[in-house]
């Protein structure tokens, strides 16, 4: 891909940004627009909208956008330290390796967090076995940045009955309701609940020179060929490149941040597209590589001054991993919904968002209406079939033929508690295709996480009944065996002994090292983290630019 600028490797660039996703893309755009020279490192290739396909086999089964499966990543998973971590068939830690990162392939469900999300520990008190804490900021402080995301990245929606205050309206009306949304509205009305518009990082109208959604139905796990999904790729990186101060260095896998004699970050070491070692000097480094990759890179950057990994004097790097738990209930209706068309979700219920202490456990979540498995044929055949149907043969085939267009899910995304035992570490045996030690995830959901997921599955079953499904079933609550939301592993906080970065994303240990992505999260929210990652990125960029201008980096 042609870049507007190429920076010299041996001349320190103002900022090296590692990762081009939800956070990295925004920070690159903000800092380059503010007059700084930036190089963005992305280990995946530079795909454009026209490179994205509807090929379910390539994209989902062959993990095209993930850069392959465990056979190339070497990733391993275990539930706790007593188990030996092994490589499952499916990549346990799932994120896109492509310019724009996971903002390219996410479903683009796009809630703001609420006021309560930032101060839950103060409201609810401690929770045993967890590192439950308040954020070092309030909703008031992040609200202007939520508004910036909505207006600069492009968000469609309408306010819901439980939303926290907003300083500006949504810039675009919501996307049209789907049959699944209509059925959720009907069910919610019966049960006294509120089915509200699902906000999306997807354009319902042309916006900033970009096209509106064409309702092709390939949002979740796919890239958007219309450029209507407000990924970093579609919304931010073109603006960054247009400044002439931002170089996107794709197919460049960073394996170490080098520090100088003063312990400051000085150089980014990476493998280029041919696998050769390269180095880029930088005045400051920003790590926005996602909660798993960020952890790995910091651990790999250990040195004499930073023996346990860069920015890890607290020992918190990699800890407190939060995936968000889930539940799913499927229902089959009399008439075709054709829910494979358009975006995943058009309606969501937030009545169970807040922790209700009378339930006896921490947590909350949203329940949304979506095709889920019924979005594409292979996915439906593998995951969407009722449990009482044989797994092959004529009866199985008849069931698919009848159900595919008539099926939908009520899916919940829930809280996860931060715990020491859930973490990202370096696998002692495996390496990835570049030779870096593989990512090892250790994760066992907190009992409260499983309890709220079960609670929401039960509510979803009631909703499915109320919606008039002819047949419905829950998938049951199982221990997480991997995740897409990679949160909490370099948490922000005021106490350097119990956090990795300060409230403005500067690492406590290294003054010219910043970390901003899902790893910054203190709590997990309710299952839609990307809006908050993007808001944090706008906020971080503002403070980083101000510090640089004041010579305080």
């Amino acid at each position: 891909m042609a870049n507007s600028v190429t920076f010299e490797q041996r001349k320190p660039v103002d900022f090296a940004i590692i990762g081009s996703g939800a956070a990295g893309g925004i920070i690159a755009k903000e800092l380059s627009s503010a007059g700084f020279d930036v190089v963005v490192f992305e280990q995946g290739p530079y795909r454009k909208a026209s490179d994205f396909t509807h090929d379910e086999y390539d994209v989902i089964i062959q993990s095209e956008l993930l850069g392959g499966g465990p056979e190339v990543s070497g990733q391993t998973f275990r539930h706790d330290e007593s188990e030996i971590a092994t490589s499952p068939i499916i990549q346990p830690i799932r994120y896109a390796q492509t310019v724009g990162g996971s903002s390219v392939h996410f479903s683009a469900n796009f809630w703001r967090f609420r006021e309560s999300d930032f101060i839950e520990r103060s409201k609810l008190g401690p929770i045993s076995g967890s590192n439950f804490a308040d954020w070092p900021m309030t909703y008031d402080e992040i609200e202007p940045y939520y508004a910036r995301v909505e207006w600069e990245v492009g968000v469609s929606g309408a306010p819901g009955p439980f939303d926290s205050f907003r300083s500006r309206p949504f810039p675009m009306p919501p996307l049209p309701v789907k049959s699944s949304g209509v059925l959720m509205e009907k069910a919610a009305k019966k049960l006294g609940l509120h089915a509200q518009n699902q906000p999306h990082a997807i354009l319902s109208q042309p916006f900033n020179g970009r096209n509106a959604c064409i309702h092709c139905g390939h949002c979740m796990m796919f890239g958007c060929e219309a450029g209507a999904k407000s990924s970093s790729l579609a919304a931010m990186i073109p603006l960054a490149e247009a400044t002439g101060r931002c170089e996107i260095r794709d197919r460049s896998a960073v394996f170490r941040i080098e520090t100088d004699a003063n312990g400051r970050a000085s150089e980014v070491l990476y493998y280029d597209k041919d696998g050769s070692e390269q180095a880029q000097m930088a005045k400051a480094v920003i790590v926005s590589a996602n909660g798993a990759e960020t952890t790995r890179l910091l651990l790999l950057s250990a040195s004499e001054q930073h023996p346990d990994g860069l920015a890890n004097s607290s020992g918190y790097v990699g800890r407190n991993l939060m995936f968000n738990a889930h539940s799913a209930v499927d229902g089959v209706f009399e008439h075709p919904l054709n829910d494979y068309k358009s975006v995943q979700v058009s309606r969501v219920i937030h009545d169970f968002y807040e922790t209700d202490e009378s339930r006896g456990f921490y947590g909350g979540g949203g329940i949304d209406a979506r095709p889920l498995w019924s979005m594409t044929p292979i996915f439906h055949a593998l995951e969407g079939m009722p449990h009482d149907v044989p797994k092959w043969g004529a009866a199985w085939k008849d069931e698919i033929a009848h159900n595919f267009t008539r099926q939908m899910s009520f899916a919940s995304g829930t809280t996860s508690l931060a715990m020491d035992r859930n973490n990202i570490t370096l696998d002692p045996n495996n390496t990835d295709q570049w030779g870096r030690p593989a990512i090892r995830a250790t994760y066992r959901d907190h009992d409260d996480d499983l309890a709220i997921a079960k609670f929401l599955e039960d509510r979803s079953l009631e909703l499915m009944d109320a919606a008039g499904a002819k047949k419905f079933w829950g998938h049951g609550i199982k221990l997480s065996n991997g995740g897409e939301h990679l949160l909490g592993t370099a948490r922000m906080g005021d106490d350097p002994a119990a956090s990795v970065v300060d409230r403005y994303h500067r690492s406590h240990d290294v003054s010219n090292l910043f970390i901003c992505d899902g790893s910054s999260f203190v709590t997990s929210g309710r299952g839609q983290p990307t809006m908050t990652i993007m808001a944090l990125a706008f906020r971080a960029a503002e403070h980083i630019a101000a510090a640089a201008n004041a010579n305080e980096i």
Partner: protein
């Protein structure tokens, strides 16, 4: 891999007609025409299996045809799923080939004759006896991928499986209403 009896796709289709034929006639003329036409393209005249030998391909095609059988609609045989097996086992799923083969060998030894030669009811019984074997799951997955994946991967000829389930995945864009229930609301709102 180095089977000296590699056969052309056309010859293979003829051979498999023995178990596909009866079902195909139940489908009716249009689908049958589509299959016949597909079988007669120049590509199919020329091409041979790249990965599978003739005998094992015949067995695997018969296995796929019981996993997704032709009923009053086409199944794995009509959609050409065996071509997907052949492509995938020669490339992205080559590591699965030993497992895919060893279960067939085991089954053949138990049966004492080729799976493809059995009547359908006996084929189903034979598959039920091994359906908890993880290697059977490989067979099932290959069949699902080939049947429901894009036609370019070898199976799903003429989007047969998509027509079966009502998925119009080859269309690029939609406008509301998308389904019965949102259309109902639009109508009620006088839109």
């Amino acid at each position: 891999m180095n089977n000296p009896d590699e056969i052309s796709r056309r010859r293979f289709l003829k051979a498999t007609g023995a178990f596909g034929g009866a079902s195909l006639f139940r489908i009716g003329a249009p689908s049958l025409a589509a299959v016949t036409q597909a079988a007669c393209t120049a590509r199919d005249e020329e091409a041979a299996f790249n990965t599978l030998g003739a005998e094992e391909a015949a067995d695997f095609a018969a296995i796929a045809a019981r996993i997704i059988p032709a009923t009053d609609t086409p199944g794995a045989a009509e959609a050409g799923v065996i071509w997907f097996w052949d492509n995938a086992l020669g490339s992205e799923f080559s590591s699965l080939l030993p497992g895919v083969r060893s279960l067939r060998e085991q089954l053949s030894a138990n049966l004492g004759r080729p799976f493809a030669d059995l009547p359908e009811a006996e084929q189903d019984a034979a598959l039920r006896s091994i359906e908890s074997d993880p290697r059977f799951e490989l067979w099932r997955l290959l069949t699902i991928f080939g049947f429901f994946g894009m036609a370019k991967h070898g199976g799903n000829k003429d989007h047969m499986s998509w027509d079966l389930i009502g998925y119009k995945g080859h269309h690029g864009a939609w406008t509301p209403p998308f389904g019965y229930y949102d259309a109902e609301v639009e109508q009620a709102n006088g839109e």
